[in-house]
């Protein structure tokens, strides 16, 4: 078994005000996989992410990157932030430069890269996030979705091995969300480990390989998305179930087992295909 790219052992974090956001939390992120972090509002997702990026330091427990405990000195943090990129929930708290181009080059500049390399990376990130047309626009004169994409581009330009995104799809229109999905798939194919926090269960079910589910700062469960997101305990905690999983369950109750042959439909389209496949088999076995 390979070492997880990021792991947390018995990590606890309490905010200065006294709110304990994570309590004895342990979990692991497998290298090169797509992980969705789920949990209700205030369950500790954002806190977890700030810990993984070294923005916050746990009062108890250990966090490891590639099997080595995080170092919190200047050099260690710079290395960590190069390896683990993080896109925050609120785009307004991330863009601080006058124009997008300048903002995206902020990360690469901090990495001390040569000028030509920085230009390359910024241009690539701009193209990836479809921002080339607004590159020189002032940051305040952008729509929410454009700002959101600019934040993502700013982190992509640092080319991290692990990319953490807090609610990346919130506020993107369906077309943009799909296009961003393609970008994520590309990154996934290039070997980047992806971690996203989301409230969209259908998306998590369709997209993620693994899930981590939080409950009040504790780990409720962790494992393969296809196995975990069908558990009643998970549905209870999150207050909903993925639509495709629900349909599959109901169909199974009525005698149509779409999960036959080990096939596991994750989206509506796949479910329909499974149904068609099955009805064909019934007609001519």
């Amino acid at each position: 078994m390979t070492t997880p790219v990021l792991e947390l052992h018995e990590v606890s974090f309490t905010y200065p005000g006294g709110v304990t956001a994570l309590d004895g939390f342990s979990a692991g992120i497998t290298r090169g996989r797509r992980t969705a972090v789920l949990g209700r509002n205030g369950s500790g997702k954002t806190t977890l992410f700030s810990l993984l990026n070294g923005l916050k330091r746990p009062q108890k427990g250990v966090i490891k990157l590639n099997g080595e405990p995080l170092r919190y000195d200047r050099q260690g943090l710079l290395k960590l932030r190069q390896a683990v990129g993080m896109v925050f929930q609120d785009p307004d708290s991330q863009l601080f430069s006058a124009c997008i181009y300048e903002d995206i080059s902020f990360g690469p500049l901090n990495l001390g890269l040569p000028e030509a390399e920085i230009r390359n990376r910024v241009d690539k990130a701009l193209t990836q996030m479809k921002l080339t047309d607004v590159a020189n626009r002032p940051t305040h004169a952008l729509s929410f979705g454009q700002k959101k994409r600019a934040c993502i581009a700013g982190v992509l330009a640092m080319q991290p091995h692990v990319l953490i995104l807090d609610e990346p799809f919130a506020g993107l229109d369906p077309v943009m969300a799909k296009e961003f999905m393609v970008v994520l798939d590309q990154l996934h194919q290039d070997g980047t480990s992806l971690i996203i926090a989301t409230h969209d269960l259908d998306l998590a079910y369709a997209w993620a390989d693994d899930v981590i589910i939080l409950q009040d700062g504790h780990l409720l469960t962790q494992g393969k998305a296809s196995e975990q997101l069908v558990l009643p305990s998970v549905h209870n905690e999150l207050g909903a179930a993925p639509l495709v999983a629900e349909l599959g369950r109901v169909l199974a109750l009525t005698g149509t087992d779409v999960y036959g042959n080990g096939y596991h439909p994750r989206t509506g389209t796949e479910l329909v295909q499974a149904l068609i496949h099955q009805s064909r088999q019934e007609i001519d076995p």
Binding site: R81, F88, F96, S105, N110, L111
Partner: protein
């Protein structure tokens, strides 16, 4: 508050102008900062009753605006924005200083009015030069240049954060006052009470947001130093730029060029 908001958005535009690509833009930031500093010293150190000697100094902002392709109207509007403050500072001069020192026909002009005009001219010159510096260099590069010229790094970074904080503060205040307006049902103000809590709330919010921005900066590898995207070195064009302008400023400071010109003309045509 909306007008403050707009004014600051305009300030951002100043920063955007710095992305231009004129010969002035391409100069090393240190050269421009140095020249602006010498300019400011030469202008400010003039005698308080000095007025005519200040006029030739206007050649610097005019030349910079045209060489750097900056929009002159925009810069002038920015300077005009500060006029009320300057007037407030200088307006007591004519009140307290009534000694007539200049006779124009039958009208006597007091020293107070002269020094008032002198304050106006000096602030227009220096503020204008500062705006032009930012518009042709960018605030980050200016701070970096200051650091390069010997200002302690802590101060340079502080200055930059302060500048960014102004944006955060006005954006938040814009939002807060809009939210208040929308729910005040057309009533103009809701008294000092609601204003007090608005201000308190605003401070908390901007502080929080500044904190989050700082986090986002850290997440992108910020370690306390700003890097300008334009890399340049102090070469021959910079040396020429600094020497030529400072020579002119120092000459203008010690020789009243207007008077010189005047006496030349009267000397030629007695």
């Amino acid at each position: 508050m909306a007008s403050i908001h707009n004014a600051v958005l305009d300030l951002k535009r100043l920063d955007l102008l710095a992305n231009g690509n004129s010969s002035i833009h391409r100069l090393d930031a240190r050269a421009k900062v140095l020249v602006t500093l010498i300019f400011t010293i030469c202008v400010v150190s003039n005698d308080r009753y000095e007025l005519t000697a200040l006029f030739p100094f206007f050649i610097f902002p005019v030349a910079m605006i045209s060489l750097a392709n900056l929009p002159p109207l925009f810069i002038m509007k920015k300077i005009a924005l500060l006029c009320p403050f300057v007037v407030a500072v200088g307006i007591f001069n004519p009140v307290f200083d009534r000694v007539i020192i200049l006779q124009l026909g039958s009208i006597g002009i007091s020293g107070g009015w002269i020094s008032f005009a002198s304050i106006m001219a000096r602030s227009t010159l220096t503020v204008g030069a500062a705006f032009i510096l930012v518009a042709s260099t960018g605030f980050t590069a200016v701070c970096q240049a200051l650091e390069g010229l010997g200002m302690p790094k802590v101060f340079a970074v502080q200055l930059l954060f302060l500048y960014r904080y102004i944006f955060v503060l006005t954006e938040e205040s814009g939002r807060a006052s809009r939210a208040r307006e929308l729910r005040s049902c057309g009533k103009k103000g809701q008294g000092i009470h609601s204003f007090g809590s608005l201000v308190g709330h605003l401070l908390l919010r901007t502080w929080q947001r500044a904190e989050r921005i700082h986090m986002a900066m850290l997440a992108r590898g910020f370690t306390g130093a700003f890097h300008a995207s334009r890399q340049s070195r102090f070469g021959i064009p910079e040396i020429r730029f600094v020497l030529a302008w400072s020579a002119l400023f120092i000459f203008l400071r010690f020789q009243n060029a207007s008077q010189l010109l005047g006496s030349l003309v009267t000397g030629l045509f007695p």
